[in-house]
Symmetry: C2
Subunit: 199 residues, 2 copies
DNA sequence: TAACATACGGAGCACTGCTCCGCTTTGTCA
DNA sequence: TGACAAAGCGGAGCAGTGCTCCGTATGTTA
């Protein structure tokens, strides 16, 4: 997570050359395009070419592939994280909130070709991606999960980290095969979380 | 699944040169070693070197990486497949049998570094591996699942294929991280399968 | 405009998967 | 036993990757 100054916002970020800012923007746009087409593990050269910059430039702005992926999806991950407390406040019960929130996360993952795979890849260069998702989303999930446990809707004993990784794993391979629907399995997993007797 | 004549058994497989058989055996042994050390996606060169043969030889015997992986693990997969009916006969209930059988499968996967990852990799060269596992194990799982549904222990609506892939996915990344235990999540998944009221 | 820090670009290296074909080994048959 | 196909072998070599390095170009500042 080295660069990404300005959070893709409007502040000019003084002391940064204009062409550098321009290139970073071009890179982000190009990457977003290419990720849709070829997945998040598309060749670096392809992204650089699409952005009209050289190899060196892409690595200077995004030292790790994960940095680029994170930068591209940061907004959506952030939105997902912020939705947690909101759902907890608006839903009928903590468990309902948890279910809706997990649904949000699953929707995000399955619509990004290859993201789920990358997320649990032991490949170097994706470690930071993994870390970012975990750091940002596990606390949110924990809050929802704890609330559901406190409300007696969910058996204690499951940690948010494990749940998140499980859900992420279930989302792998969810495109193109009608016989495999991550949503159904995630639903099963959540059902397995429930307390037997909801008095 | 082109070669593998003789199922690594003792029959000489007439009409096959002695050195070819020898090399195939060496290759299987070397691959088994290397898979433990470096995972099933170890460099082909490494396996060839370990076996003391050239690149050409490995590709002649095992045109696809999946062919080699399947050949190495065929015995264990076969054993797992055959355990299905046996468990159904011996266990207290169909659901118990299903749970034990899934446990067997999970144990197999998590002890093979990288196998679970390879299994759901969209990488070419692993497709045949995927196919083999599905073809061999899904019918077994289906038998157990159907029995559990018939016994009223499990809600209908889940297909064996989906369950198998879900379980396989959950097994990814199960080594080295004490915070992620595939077994716990698989247990959750199975619990989610159960019928609410077991009259 | 001059001068300097900053950033760019892509040649190049290392490492893969996989193929191709000249050479070697094996089995057979007289 | 010797010779000769056929079967099999080996590894050079190509193509596609990730990532680095440094000579060159560009922006910025005075």
């Amino acid at each position: 997570m080295v660069p990404t100054t300005g959070e893709s916002g409007e502040m000019p970020a003084r002391s940064r050359r204009a062409d550098a800012q321009r290139n970073q923007r071009k890179l982000l746009a190009a990457a977003a395009d290419v990720f849709v087409t070829s997945g998040v593990d598309a060749p670096v050269r392809e992204i650089a070419a699409r952005a009209g910059v050289g190899m060196g430039t892409i690595y200077r702005h995004f030292p790790t592939r994960a940095d680029l992926v994170v930068a591209v999806y940061r907004h959506q991950v952030e939105a997902c994280a912020e939705a947690g407390p909101a759902l907890l406040a608006s839903a009928d019960s903590p468990f309902a909130a948890l279910r809706q929130w997990v649904g949000l996360f699953v929707d995000f993952l399955v619509t990004k070709h290859g993201l789920a795979t990358a997320l649990q890849s032991d490949n170097d260069g994706f470690e930071a991606l993994h870390t970012y998702f975990i750091d940002r989303l596990v606390p949110v999930c924990e809050q929802l999960l704890d609330a559901a446990v406190d409300a007696g809707e969910v058996r204690p004993g499951t940690r948010a980290y494990e749940l998140m990784r499980g859900v992420g794993n279930l989302c792998v391979g969810g495109d193109g095969d009608p016989r495999y629907d991550p949503r159904r399995l995630v639903e099963l997993l959540l059902r397995g979380l429930r307390r037997p007797r909801t008095s």
